[in-house]
Structures are given as structure tokens and as C-alpha cells.
Subunit: 352 residues, 2 copies
């Protein structure tokens, strides 16, 4: 029985050629493909600056570090974000020395707008919404800077205004992990139309180095989050497939919707969510899928209730996010699934 996995890494032939070039010229650390990938992203997203980084988590850490330096007010240390998300998103907040403020989400994965507005106060540094599973997260109208986590939503476009995800706030972060639209193994991108902010990130991702300096001069306390030429060599090859991959995944969503009678929509589909009435049924469904060789996963986590966050005092009660994490799962949606695969998944699926 063919195993159906959640992710499928696409490696076009062009990637082989680019990689061979890196190896042959021995440019496996820095190199031209990093610049080419950044230029490609600027053109595709119609954005002024792109910084390619090692992975999406590092992208999140960097935009937060940069925001902290930009705002330069230690009393502003809170980052308002959804309670239902992938833990890397909130871990980045802690790693940047900031405090997450978790807002509940609805079944539509949208942050509770009222709670969001209430959460913003004089200590708020920024809000940091996420387009989870590629589903557009409407940016709450608040008077603080916006960072957009688009790690699961490469190439997504807003319904209203037709703007690319990642271009609505000060900066947007992307991941190119194998489960995402395009992959470079590990990899991340940061987009920003704010030149100063982008310059700051470029410094921070290279140990805080003074731009253009080849000496040991440093402006900031930074990290090493540089993307390698090898990663970028693949990135340049796969970047051209973003629209095609998202289109294929959208077709899969339509098929799922038709079979399961749901009306899910995602601008950059990452996984197909199914919500059960209780945890037992969801866990049973996951077990049955697993037994039939189908990889599916729980619907992320209600982060404030994860053990390490509980220990830091972030625990919440009565959040819908916890219900979604307990009762939800998501199904494979990648570009290589066939109609037969999706039918097989739906046949194996215990209907909610």
C-alpha cells in the first residue's frame, strides 16, 4: 500500500544544475544564488527588500529582534498573536526576549477581533498574526506595527485588495521547509518594504555586522541566520513553481470539499483541516488514517497551554484554540496527490 505523506519535496532539474555549479565553483556558503533568490522574491512579491535566511523560525526571530531595535522602548515588550499556531512562532517571541500575548481564534482560524483590540496596550510592541494552513488571517485594525507570519502561506493573496501575504505590515516571514509550498530543505525569506528595517535585518542575520564591512565591526547583537548558496540554488529553481503548486493544491481543496461537503478555502493551501466533536473521535480518526498509511496531523497546538508555556504562566482556559487543537486534524494536500489518493484519504477518514 502506497504511503501518503503530508509533504512532498519538489526538486526540479534546474536545481541539479544550480547545485552542481555551487559544488564545482566551491561556493557552498555565500554566493550568487542567494542574491538571485532575493531578487526573484522582490520581483514576484513586488516588494522592495528580501533577505534569505536559514529557516522560517530564524526569520520570525529576526523580524522581532529588528522590531525591538526599531521601536527602541523597553516598556514595549508584548507581541499580540493567535493562541493557535505552530510553536516556532511563539518560541521566536521568547527567543527575542519579548512576551507573547495570546488571543483566541475562531473555527475559521481568525483571531478574535475584540480580544485582539483589548490585548493592545501601551506595552504592545507589535501584532504578529499568522496565515495558518495558508488561510488568510485578516489583520486586525490596531495602531501598532504588524509583522506577518506567512511560513505556511507562500504565494497567498488577500481576498480584499489582492495583496500578497507578507506585504501588509512592516515585514513578512516565510518558510521553505519540505511541507511548505516550495522547499529548499530548510529555508526562510523575509520581505519588507521598509528599507531601514530590511537593512537592520540584513545586519542582524549576519552577527549584527556593519553593512559592507569586512572587519570585525558590529552594530548590533545579531545571530547567524544566513541562507547558504546551496539552499538558494534550489530556491531559485523551485521559486518559479509557486503559482503552479498553489494551483494544484487549490484543486485538491476543491476535491476534498466536494467529497466531504465542506467549504474550506485557503489562499496558499498547506493542509486540509477537519474538526471533530471531541478529542476521542479525532484521535481515533488519526489512528485509522495512520493504520491505512496516510499521514495526518493534529491541528497545531493551543500554544499557551503547552507544557513550557504553562510553566511560564501563560496557561489559558476556555479558549476555542484549545478545542481546535484537541479536536482538529489536517490531511495531506500537496501538489503530487492524485484524485485517487484524495479519494483513498476520504474513504479512510472517519467523518466528523
Amino acid at each position: 500500500m502506497k504511503r501518503i505523506s503530508l509533504a512532498s519535496a519538489l526538486v526540479p532539474f534546474k536545481a541539479y544544475l544550480n547545485i552542481f555549479d555551487c559544488l564545482w565553483t566551491e561556493r557552498i556558503g555565500r554566493g550568487k544564488y542567494v542574491e538571485q533568490l532575493e531578487a526573484k522574491a522582490c520581483e514576484f512579491f513586488n516588494v522592495k527588500n528580501c533577505i534569505a535566511v536559514g529557516n522560517g523560525t530564524l526569520a520570525d526571530i529576526l523580524v522581532l529582534m529588528a522590531m525591538k531595535i526599531k521601536i527602541n522602548d523597553p516598556s514595549k515588550h508584548q507581541v499580540v498573536m493567535p493562541a493557535l499556531t505552530f510553536v516556532a512562532h511563539s518560541n521566536a517571541v521568547i527567543m527575542a526576549g519579548l512576551t507573547p500575548v495570546f488571543v483566541d481564534v475562531g473555527d475559521d482560524l481568525q483571531m478574535d477581533q475584540d480580544q485582539c483590540k483589548q490585548a493592545v496596550n501601551k506595552h504592545t510592541l507589535c501584532i504578529f498574526p499568522v496565515h495558518l494552513l495558508g488561510v488568510e488571517c485578516k489583520i486586525p485594525k490596531v495602531r501598532v506595527p504588524v509583522l506577518e507570519d506567512c511560513c505556511e502561506a507562500m504565494g497567498g493573496i488577500t481576498k480584499k485588495g489582492k495583496k500578497f501575504f507578507g506585504t501588509q505590515g512592516t515585514a513578512g516571514t516565510f518558510s521553505m521547509y519540505p511541507s511548505h509550498t516550495i522547499t529548499t530543505g530548510e529555508g526562510g525569506l523575509i520581505l519588507s518594504n521598509d528599507d531601514e528595517f530590511a537593512k537592520l535585518i540584513r545586519s542582524l542575520h549576519n552577527h549584527g555586522k556593519v553593512a559592507g564591512s569586512n572587519d570585525f565591526n558590529f552594530d548590533h547583537i545579531g545571530i547567524n541566520a544566513k541562507m547558504t548558496n546551496l539552499q538558494a540554488a534550489i530556491g531559485c529553481a523551485v521559486f518559479d513553481t509557486i503559482d503552479e503548486v498553489n494551483q494544484r493544491r487549490k484543486e485538491n481543496v476543491i476535491l476534498y470539499n466536494f467529497i466531504l461537503g465542506q467549504d474550506f478555502y485557503s489562499a496558499a493551501p498547506h493542509g486540509y483541516p477537519v474538526i471533530y466533536k471531541d478529542k476521542e473521535q479525532r484521535d481515533w480518526a488519526l489512528e485509522v488514517l495512520g493504520d491505512r498509511g496516510i499521514e495526518a496531523r493534529k491541528l497545531m497546538s493551543c500554544v499557551p497551554n503547552l507544557k513550557p508555556y504553562q510553566e511560564l504562566g501563560f496557561g489559558v482556559q476556555g479558549y476555542n484554540a484549545q478545542r481546535l487543537a484537541d479536536c482538529g486534524l489536517f490531511l495531506p494536500l500537496h501538489q503530487r496527490l492524485t484524485k485517487q489518493d484524495i479519494e483513498r484519504i476520504c474513504n479512510a477518514l472517519i467523518r466528523p
Copy 2:
């Protein structure tokens, strides 16, 4: 005129084959080469555990995060370290939410032993010496845990006791950046004989995930510092060259010593240091070398006096480390330099 660079990335033919295998099987994120590289390192260093990570800076951050969790005492937040080092080393301390305590170094790059002992107090979490330029840093005898930064010293062995660098304390960190003994573009390794500590690091480098769990269960607040299969594919190929590369570099040191009348020794040579009587002469020497197509660099930084550290109140006065950073430089030493290259460098060098 041939340019002589500080670094030279060696990409053996075996790396091409391994990389092709990764691309063909589409295992560019995780994969077997990561495990193979870790096993190779355990065997080579005769150490119980190895975790391959994205780069050396992330390795440093991870061992500090793990030490903080292991000791589990918020009053212990100080990390005693040398003032002369590459900034990533101390940035890692800040990123882990800890406080660096900078100890001066002598012209032999050794931490001042008395100052080191005085620096250790009830707030000390650990000491974090570095084998800068591959020169053995003797571990001060203090009653706190030791972490060893071996980012510039892959394969070095202590003079006394013949122990591998990185195996003397709780954990050791390594970098595989192109300027180092072996390179994977970017890349790092963490060694530890402490099984619990290694397990903790393995969790922390993968978002704090519970070992073996495929679900969204997390024990700790972690980061993403995973090495990719592509990096490891090169790593497995270059790992076998460590001794050979270090041997070639040691021969270069002997040649430099002979021509320049110095008696420098490094267990895992990274750069050949020259100290001038003042900054003007050093800067002039760097300029002349640059004009003649020879890449050389300042001798790291006196980190507490770097702008971002000054701003945090770490500034020091009268440190020999500052004199070394001001008056020192290091010359290329890599495995591909010819006798003629070294003669050309020495001819271009303004003698101190």
C-alpha cells in the same frame, strides 16, 4: 595576480554523489546523511553523542539554552568567557538570555587564570572558553560546568592528556563555515558525553519537541537549528579529511614560523596571527596586504568594547584583549596554500 583568500572550501567528489542522492530521493530536509554525520563524529571524537546543527552560532546558543535548563536556577545567569573572541560566541550568551562576564586574555590567547577564578561566583552558570584560531585554551580549574567553543578548532587535541577539543566539558561546539577546517557551507556540531544533556539539545534544536513524538508536543521552548540532509551529505564527505587538512595547515604554520621567526602553535590551525606594536602599523599592514591581493583580517574583537556591548554597559578599560584586537591580524593558513603563496604573503607583510 592570483588572489590569496583566507578560506578555501574543499568539496570532495564523494560530496557530489551524496548530494545527487539527496536530490534524486528528494530528501533535502531531514535524512540519512544527518545521522551518518553524527555517527561519524561520535566515532572520530570518541564521544557518546553528537547533534548536527545549522551553524556554529546556533550550536553555541543551544548548549547555553540547555545548560540553563539543566542547572534550573535563575540566579545563575552569568557565563564566564574570554574578552577576545568572535562575536557570535558572546551573542549566543545574550540570545540565550544570559549575561557574559568577560575575562582578559594574554598574548598567548589564554584567559587570565586569576581573573577567571575571581569571575566565578554564586551567579555563574558555566564557563565558556574558546579555542580561538585553533589555539588550545587551557580550561581554568573552576567548580562550574564547562562548555567549549571549538568553532575554529575542529580536530584539535590538547597537549596534555591528548583529549579532543570539545570533549573536556559538558559539551563542545563546532562550526563548519567555509573558513574552518572542514565546511558544509554553513553547519555546526555539538558533542557531549552527557546523555541527558544531549537529549535536551536534540529537543531544543527541533522546536523543543518531545523526543520521538510526531505530534505537536513540546517539552521546552526551542528553536529550529536542524542541519539539512544536503549539508550533512557534504559533511559526510569532508569529515574524513579533518586530519589531513589540519596536517597541511600545521605545515603552513611551520613555514610561516620559519620565515617570520615566530613560534606560533595551533592544534587545529585557523589563521596565522601577527601582532604589531600599534594600530597604525597593523592597519597599514592590512592595507598593503589587501593591495597585493592577499586577504587578511583583524584579530577578532575585544567584544565588551564593541558598540552594542558598550551600550549594554559591558565596556572594559586596559584589557590586553583590546590591544590584540587593535594591533593584531591573522594571515591565510588554509590547506591549499602553496609554499610560494606563503612566501608571497610574507614578502608582502610589513614585519612587526
